[in-house]
Symmetry: C2
Subunit: 435 residues, 2 copies
């Protein structure tokens, strides 16, 4: 039997050039979040399935988790998201930790989905969470961090939009203003979450299916349809205009504007899928016509830590996936070209591997990244490998070079060759690194 | 129902202080392997179970894998090791890749084991592989890289020993010299692999159980027992002394000595568990009396890539686990104390969050990692958080400071306070970072 060389469906192999790109994405993310004082954490990729039953949302748990029974008869899942895990970790040390707590992680997550653009079965996701702040400064900071990351990748503010809404406002509208009961309100909320994926007629038919006939007749449906057309906070019905949820959105938009985040807008149709959000939610959208879609988002979830039997901790967080981010950067031509980590390829002339050790060790001690070709092939074959690897320099070492302590450095792009000492060679290669 | 706050049994949560240590370990590893020209790759944590059935070894596959059937009815496993995966990736691009290929990865691996010192169900493992070199330079480099990593962690050569053996030599001894058949030889090899975990009487009884009565009577058992007492290559029986396998070990030991690796020795009892090794194997042992154990190892496995239906590629590699490494560094007191990533904690005096944004943004632009306390608590409570987080500096910002554009920098260790401009403040904090 011949084994397949393909990776698991919907997951990716990262060859060195792919990994280099991933490392670039993660380095940029780390750079920004650490400037805001976030510290990295991590956790096992397996969790008890229970952890997701509470608040992750039915679709993910029932249809998309990688769940199984382990050899010790425990029901476990490969994590589909990180938020329950980080809440568990905070709960475990609820009393010992110093708040506010700024934590981030870049875990891989698994969901059994139909692989398509922007969605794979395994993806990596930057998770940024601020624990212990109940005021709006937390939401402001979360959005500010998200915005700074986008800008660190070179995005201009017209390339993306930050949409805001409030779960509390939606509760005010669906329950108090429209008078829906809990079941209806929940179903309508889930429907609004999917509305941009369906045509208006289907959407309308689904509303009909949820609302009882009396509600359809008393004008509730029209009121709902009109609500969903609102694009400004001041267009909201008078009955809710003075609610705290509206004031919060107003203040947040003003403070964001004050920190030069001019691309944040209110969007009454923004719901976010997870059940655990309790208040303000936000999502970052790509504005490019070829890739006009939600990229990532987050919000406030004050109830999760409390599920672990400890006093709740107010929390705001967001998650940013690598696949959608990469699509965005490709669409807007923001991906840089990255150099290999290896500086130079050592071509050995003749049987000098043992004698060359001293030079190789010395080059490495001076910080150079050097790969040596020990294949015993002819030099031109060795150089071909270096070129194929995309390396810029080759260093030739043979008996004469070892005796003279002078080595040939060849620029594989220009073809230029220079004979020089170890020190000069290191300096020349390091100069190129900086370009 | 209250959810448990514990991580999955035998796996670890990484709180920021734990993650900081892990990042230190990985950074040191990356630094060394990249100086030798290795490039990082990665792959999905799920693989078809088939991948491990071929050569990983029965115990791991049957008793220790996390295997299950996915929603598409595929038999999958969470990877217990990385070698089959990297072989698959090389096979997939067999013709396109430029050899020699130097690849590394630091994947997490899962095995269902009884958790104990040095063994957990999830661990991370540096995997270093050199593809395409059939001569001894590959083994030399693998051991040299392993040795350099140990030394980069501050280990002295008397703290660890590098043991070498050869699968080909063992075949020569068990098959040709002792005349065992294939089944006997395989069972004896597996027994030798476990011999240091049992007392001599049990070991001897197990040999009896494997060998047929005729072999016991004709002196085969005594010959085997005597073989296993050999500690030098020149003590090997005359019949095998001139075999290529012995010459290889001699040359390798000499070349290692030439590169100042003085702690490498021949060990006839070294087998390594995996079935895929084909020639020289090595293992690094901790010599400390409190932690005298095998830490990690590797060897040549020329047959794996060929299992995927392509032309085989000669390969030498090793894997170095984080748990055993950490035990070693702790035992030898080589773990450094690591500073938090955050440079300073901003204490806000009064309701100045919005006005302070300009300063905060500017400090971050200058590269400072600053966490701001937005809890609206009294300044002394805010300082307490900074101290608990182990941060060295607090920066006080209130209305007066914003007006004067002069801020108070407090050294939380010495208690010293100084009023200064943004620029001076950044310089002072960056100076400390370098210490």
């Amino acid at each position: 039997m011949t084994l397949s060389t393909q990776p698991y469906k919907g997951a990716r192999d990262f060859y060195p050039e792919d990994k280099r790109l991933q490392k670039y994405l993660f380095d940029v993310m780390r750079g920004v979040v650490e400037r805001f004082g976030y510290e990295e954490y991590d956790a096992p990729i397996l969790e008890p399935l229970d952890l997701y039953l509470a608040k992750t949302g039915e679709e993910i748990v029932n249809e998309q988790t990688y769940a199984f029974t382990d050899r010790g008869d425990r029901q476990v899942a490969i994590r589909p998201e990180m938020t329950p895990t980080v809440s568990r970790m905070v709960a475990a040390k609820r009393q010992e930790l110093a708040y506010p707590l700024r934590w981030y992680s870049i875990p891989n997550l698994w969901r059994y989905e139909r692989p398509q653009r922007g969605r794979l079965r395994e993806h990596w996701q930057l998770n940024v969470d601020l624990f212990g702040i109940s005021n709006l400064a937390a939401e402001h900071e979360a959005i500010q961090v998200a915005d700074e990351i986008m800008r660190a990748f070179g995005a201009k503010r017209d390339m993306y939009q930050i949409k805001l809404n409030s779960r509390r406002l939606m509760d005010d509208l669906l329950n108090s203003y429209l008078g829906l009961d809990e079941v209806e309100a929940h179903s309508i909320a889930k429907l609004i979450d999917r509305m941009h994926k369906m045509d208006p007629a289907t959407f309308s038919a689904q509303i009909d299916a949820i609302l009882s006939p009396s509600r359809r007749e008393d004008g509730t449906e029209d009121k709902l349809t009109n609500l969903l057309k609102i694009t400004q906070l001041n267009e909201l019905p008078e009955a809710v205009k003075n609610h705290a949820s509206v004031k919060e959105l107003e203040v947040l938009l003003r403070v964001l504007e004050g920190s030069k985040i001019t691309n944040a807008v209110f969007d009454i149709t923004l719901m976010r899928g997870f059940d655990y959000y309790t208040d303000i939610v936000f999502e970052v959208f790509d504005t490019h016509p070829d890739n006009n879609r939600s990229m990532f988002g987050g919000g406030r979830y004050d109830g999760l830590v409390g599920l672990f039997g400890v006093e709740p901790v107010p929390t705001v967080g967001f998650g940013m996936g690598d696949v959608t981010l990469q699509n965005f950067l490709e669409t807007h031509k923001l991906l840089p070209s990255l150099k290999p980590e290896t500086d130079a390829y050592v071509v050995l002339i003749g049987d000098v591997y043992e004698q060359a050790q001293r030079v190789l060790m010395s080059l490495r001690e001076m910080g150079l990244h050097v790969a040596v070709d020990t294949s015993e092939r002819k030099p031109d074959k060795q150089i071909k490998s270096a070129v194929k690897k995309g390396l810029r320099f080759a260093i030739f070492i043979g008996e004469k070079e070892l005796k003279d302590e002078q080595y040939v450095l060849k620029d594989l792009k220009t073809g230029e060759e220079q004979t020089m000492s170890e020190q000069r060679l290191v300096a020349a290669v390091k100069d190129f690194r900086k370009t």
